[in-house]
């Protein structure tokens, strides 16, 4: 009933052909040795943060599974086209709703969902950032249910995290199993920092002269993704700064350095909208840069992603992404959405309330597996409690069927066993739309579990795309 990515009955699928021998021939004690080695490596690099801002113990190591997750070139190409198509549509949507709002005027998306959305930023209306790109790094969460069946679970247009895992998982696998990489033609992912840097440089503001200066703006070392911020800054060769390192003067943003102020052209911010400028948004924010929005709006600096980009990725807008693909690109969506019931619609509300035990219910603005109900895994009491929450504010919820996530062979105590997986590839949008062949595969390590969140027993895997 679940699609097994490695086995078709007894037969090993094409993607995993070379791995099956590797697994079969690996002695148990060797595997345990390697597992311990991997853990030591992760500890040494210090990559212990929670994925996707899930919170939890920041020093906890996320379990790494050595069995890679593999896609053939053909499978990947189709995914790639689908992801790029979606990224293009999401940016077209952002440009539209901060401009004339044609999609709303055409009656394809209700005005209320867009303009009264808490992620919609009035301060961005009428502003077109360089190259018309609002979301520069889009993380698209995918699940697979069949050979050619991929579904998008959600889009992340603000500041998706997890890419450092994609890079580190590969790095560690290559260090531990060099032979494996000699014997298989695997597409590299290590170009990501270079492509990210090029993408960010390509959206420098008009007023920028010479090579753009890019910085990463972090909330600081107490943030759960701080490791990733410093990791990316390091690999891109750019400065990692906090709000206090930057200041606005005249028409530009400057960075304080020992050699005096240096003008900053592009800010890859890993800070939520509400905190980036206390003059414009939350005035109690100590993390941002006062006056940043004014400089941004007058074309003195680029902010990636644009404030307000989140209006494209909340769960209410999600249901309309296929419509965006048709509306802006005139194409049929390559990637499917999961069927979604929106509880502010009468019919949907009734259906969902009658079938709570079979559905997954999520908060429109929730993330990280919090504020949700997984019907089939919940007790009667939990379901009834959640029902009361929904009754209080139906428009805060959407519901989806429980999906049959594909499984991938995973090392467990007893040997190798199938476990459920998802995938987050990272799409980069600047002068071009690019995608490194790979992504972050999360795996639910508990037998039978469909929850891949690291806070609830999830781990990570290296993700391979085979060359032809």
């Amino acid at each position: 009933m679940y699609y097994n990515e490695m086995f078709d009955g007894e037969k090993v699928r094409e993607a995993y052909a070379s791995l099956s021998d590797w697994v079969a021939q690996m002695p148990v004690d060797f595997r345990q040795l390697k597992q311990a080695e991997a853990e030591a490596l992760f500890r040494r690099i210090g990559i212990t943060f929670a994925v996707y801002g899930e919170g939890g113990d920041p020093d906890r190591l996320i379990p790494f599974d050595m069995m890679p997750r593999v896609f053939t070139q053909g499978e990947w190409r189709r995914l790639e086209r689908g992801i790029k198509q979606r990224a293009k549509a999401l940016n077209a949507f952002l440009r539209d709703v901060y401009g004339r709002g044609e999609i709303v005027r055409a009656g394809r998306i209700p005005a209320r969902l867009v303009y009264q959305n808490e992620a919609y930023e009035k301060a961005v209306v009428g502003f077109v950032p360089p190259r018309g790109v609002y979301s520069h790094i889009i993380g698209i969460d995918l699940v697979r249910t069949g050979r050619d069946e991929f579904f998008v679970l959600e889009d992340n247009c603000r500041t998706p995290s997890g890419v450092s895992y994609m890079l580190e998982n590969r790095e560690i696998m290559m260090r531990m199993f060099p032979d494996l990489f000699r014997g298989n033609r695997i597409e590299p992912v290590d170009g990501y920092p270079e492509i990210l840097r090029r993408t960010l440089e390509s959206v420098a503001p008009k007023k920028c002269v010479g090579r753009p200066r890019v910085v990463i703006l972090t909330p600081g070392h107490f943030n759960s993704a701080y490791y990733e911020h410093s990791f990316l800054a390091n690999l891109m060769g750019v400065e990692l700064v906090e709000g206090a390192d930057l200041f606005v003067e005249g028409e530009f943003v400057y960075m304080r350095t020992t050699e005096g102020p240096k003008r900053v052209d592009v800010i890859y911010r890993r800070l939520d909208d509400a905190f980036i400028d206390p003059l414009c948004f939350r005035r109690d924010s100590m993390l941002g840069v006062p006056g940043l929005m004014d400089v941004y709006r007058s074309g003195g600096v680029s902010i990636c992603s644009a404030p307000g980009a989140g209006v494209a990725d909340d769960k209410a807008i999600y249901t309309f992404v296929p419509e965006m693909v048709r509306f802006y690109l005139g194409e049929e969506p390559i990637l499917k959405n999961v069927d979604t019931w929106t509880l502010w619609k009468q019919d949907d509300y009734k259906y969902v309330m009658d079938n709570l035990a079979d559905l997954v219910v999520k908060e429109v603005h929730g993330s990280g597996g919090y504020g949700m109900l997984v019907g089939p895994k919940s007790t009667k009491k939990q379901i009834e409690e959640f029902r009361k929450l929904i009754e209080k504010n139906p428009s805060n919820y959407i519901a989806q069927p429980t999906l049959s996530l594909s499984t991938c062979p995973t090392f467990v105590d007893e040997g190798v066993a199938p476990r459920h997986v998802d995938l987050r590839p990272f799409c980069l949008c600047g002068d071009r739309i690019e995608l490194v062949p790979g992504g972050l595969t999360r795996v639910a390590l508990k037998e039978g579990s469909l929850v891949v969140n690291s806070s609830q027993g999830g781990g990570v895997k290296d993700t391979w795309v085979l060359s032809e």
Partner: protein
């Protein structure tokens, strides 16, 4: 009518300010009801004008940075504006923000039961324009002008409970009532010329605008029982008083700050 506006603010700081950033939303709006003859903003020797742009709501935003140390920072605005009475209609104003955005509630404009009850009193039979006028009258009678009973932090619900307030409170209450009747509403800041009738007015003023299908944005000054006319100069708008604030700023060091404000609006010869 030609109005001369003098708006001088001096910020006095306990300790010298080393550095500061101020974002000003303090230029007359561009629409058929007003024409700018002259408009000067000056922040003294420490101030340097920076980024400026017109935002999606049509307001001119001007950034200023301050290089200290200074203990006094002036914000001097001197201008002359030619005004025309358009019965409150904001005709010819270029803006891109969808009116639906102004259905969003903020802390200051969150309705409570009393506001809901009040909003429900006018009949459904009224035209949208008549309904807006009716709501404005309700504000006039339920929240009469009283100075000193509210503060900058008072919400619409609190002002109604207190039963009095100043222009900021009137605007907030009217906005909530309008939104409860499905009409987008926003906060407008500007200046008011004290006319010949001798009524006491605040020269720095605020009122509400309500979006009326077919007519666009229309201003309502509940406390003065009128729609903005040639005595009004409009400078900026927002979701509430805080969002529409004419001056937002931060300073480094400085400590306690004391404000001296002088505002005058006078009629001058053409």
């Amino acid at each position: 009518m030609r109005l001369k506006i003098t708006h001088h603010t001096v910020y006095n700081y306990e300790n010298p300010v080393r550095f500061g950033v101020q974002s000003l939303r303090l230029s007359p709006s561009v629409f058929q009801g007003q024409k700018v003859i002259d408009w000067q903003v000056d922040m003294g020797e420490a101030g340097e004008p920076g980024a400026g742009f017109r935002d999606g709501a049509g307001d001119w935003i001007q950034l200023w940075t301050l290089r200290g140390p200074v203990t006094q920072v002036p914000v001097r605005i001197d201008g002359v504006v030619e005004t025309t009475d358009l019965s409150g209609v904001l005709r010819g104003h270029r803006e891109m923000v969808n009116p639906f955005v102004y259905m969003q509630t903020t802390e200051a404009t969150t309705p409570d039961a009393a506001l809901r009850d009040l909003a429900a009193t006018p009949s459904d039979e009224l035209t949208r324009l008549d309904l807006a006028h009716e709501l404005s009258h309700l504000v006039y009678s339920n929240v009469p002008y009283k100075s000193g009973v509210t503060t900058l932090a008072t919400t619409a619900a609190e002002a109604l409970a207190i039963g009095g307030g100043v222009c900021q409170d009137h605007a907030h209450v009217l906005m909530v009532l309008a939104r409860l009747r499905d009409m987008p509403a926003r906060y407008v800041s500007g200046y008011l010329h004290a006319d010949a009738d001798g009524n006491a007015h605040e020269a720095s003023h605020a009122w509400a605008e309500i979006f009326i299908e077919g007519l666009g944005w229309v201003g309502f000054d509940a406390a003065n029982k009128t729609c903005p006319n040639q005595h009004y100069v409009r400078t900026g708008s927002g979701l509430d008083a805080r969002d529409a604030a004419p001056i937002r700023g931060v300073t480094v060091m400085g400590g306690a700050e004391k404000l001296d404000v002088k505002v005058a609006v006078e009629e001058v010869a053409q």
